[in-house]
Symmetry: C2
Subunit: 129 residues, 2 copies
DNA sequence: CCATGTGTATTAGAGTACTAATACACTAGA
DNA sequence: TCTAGTGTATTAGTACTCTAATACACATGG
């Protein structure tokens, strides 16, 4: 069951970013595992009626971020996840995003424990090793 | 002790967005409370050596989002927080952001409980009613 | 009233982001 | 070898984003 992309042309989010998000989510959610190949650039481009370069951009950025690796002649393969930096550094890297969540949660009148629980539930599916 | 802005010209994040973030954080963090006034557009613009319209844009968007209210002749006042929509809708509104956190956390090899705890700690300061 | 303080509508311009068209380098497999 | 499959460098054009300059409407308070 190959990864299937869907884009919302109305969302205002660039196509290549929507693709990146979906790959990241699939990897984090375990639907794509280390060694699995992403659908080819041309395949996705055809399916979404979009230029191949747009998909290539998404894939290249994912490679830069260490999510996938290019294998010449074969395609993009999900890379082994490996923690980079100290625990402290990695936590620090996540902080700006968490600050954003905190601010949004406040505005939505959602409490800390409530949001923490939502997040944990969301990540539980992911918590295969 | 008036809110003091600081922008990082190197960050790539637009000035008006940096200002918005800092206001949101100050409100969520309790450093600005309902009824408090933001520093005036011209004041901030002078401090940051930036055009007043840039700050005005930040303030207007914050008003659109219900964070502040304009009081003619006086300035921008922190609005009363009021939950809009059902609990279910508000939780749903937060989900895309949490999904982003989950994906980032996975890539950083940070566990669900670990991240949930970080977030809750971050929001605790905020949890004055 | 009027000086001084709010925020902002409008216009403009520079820069960037996004997508596409085209052509290319490389690999796998028959 | 050669066909068909990978991803991508380059170029280009459109759209949009961001910031600034200017001038304006309105409110406050002496």
């Amino acid at each position: 069951m190959a990864l299937r992309f869907h884009i919302l042309p109305t969302s205002g989010v660039p196509i290549y970013r929507q693709v990146m998000e979906q790959v990241r989510a699939a990897v984090a959610g375990g639907h794509l595992r280390e060694g699995d190949f992403l659908p080819s650039v041309r395949e996705v481009a055809a399916e979404l009626a979009v230029n191949p370069m747009t998909i290539s951009k998404a894939y290249s950025l994912l490679e830069r971020d260490g999510v996938v690796q290019m294998v010449r002649g074969q395609g993009m393969r999900v890379a082994a996840r490996r923690a980079v930096g100290t625990l402290r550094q990695r936590r620090e890297a996540l902080r700006p995003l968490l600050a954003q969540v905190a601010a949004a949660a406040y505005q939505l009148s959602l409490s800390g424990p409530e949001v923490a629980q939502m997040l944990e539930a969301l990540m539980k599916e992911t918590d295969r090793e």
